[in-house]
């Protein structure tokens, strides 16, 4: 499965990029995040992250499909 993964804020700095194409066998958003957390050394645990799939907030157990755009969102700090 091929995913387009978006990074923001501290995750973007840690990954050293704002986006990457990820080829993975992981089926759901939680497993993909754990895989990427190991790869890039993210310090944020999933409890502090929200997931968005194709531009909408999503549950961690959402089963992903080939071509999905997945964003892992650190706690927000606008305003």
């Amino acid at each position: 499965m091929n995913l387009r993964v978006l990074y923001f804020a501290s995750l973007r700095d840690a990954a050293g990029r704002d986006m990457e194409q990820v080829v993975t066998a992981s089926a759901d958003a939680r497993t993909v995040y754990e895989e990427l957390r190991r790869r890039h050394g993210f310090v944020l645990l999933p409890e502090r992250i929200r997931v968005a799939v194709n531009g909408e907030f999503s549950a961690w157990d959402r089963v992903l499909a080939d071509g999905d755009e997945v964003a892992f969102l650190p706690p927000v700090s606008g305003g």
Binding site: F8, A9, A71, V76
Partner: protein
């Protein structure tokens, strides 16, 4: 209308956009960049957003405010990019027949935008350090 803006926010023009013959009140909130946070002197800020989701979630917040409070119109504009001390970072405006609803809706909108709209603030400190802020106000360093 919820917008992200890469350039200076024109508050006066946004407020005029809320005008309505039945409106007797307009409450606005301005968030400014201040020169310190959590005891550290701040030199400047960067805001980053997940633009598509920020604009849809921001529009949702405004729609909720219109349902919850007796208001006529509401807008919010949030800056992204590099900001200096004193810059207007976020503007909220609400028009209503009466002031109670205008104040309450304005408060609701800024609180919800800060809580759930995917925008992040990177503080650059006077000592050269920087860090992305999170709601508990602690920077997370990669």
């Amino acid at each position: 209308m919820f917008l992200l803006s890469e350039s200076t926010i024109d508050a006066a023009s946004l407020a005029r956009g809320l005008a309505h013959a039945g409106a007797g009140a307009c409450a606005t909130f301005e968030g400014w960049v201040r020169d310190h946070n959590d005891g550290r002197p701040v030199r400047r800020l960067d805001y980053q957003a997940y633009a598509t989701l920020a604009e849809s979630e921001g529009a949702k917040v405004l729609a909720e405010a219109k349902e919850k409070f007796a208001i006529m119109d509401a807008s919010c504009v949030h800056r992204i990019g590099a900001l200096a001390i004193g810059d207007l970072a976020v503007w909220v405006g609400v028009s209503a027949a009466h002031r109670d609803a205008a104040f309450a809706a304005c408060r609701y909108i800024i609180d919800e935008v800060k809580r759930r709209v995917p925008i992040w603030k990177n503080e650059h400190y006077v000592d050269g350090d920087s860090g992305w802020l999170h709601p508990d106000n602690t920077p997370v360093n990669p």
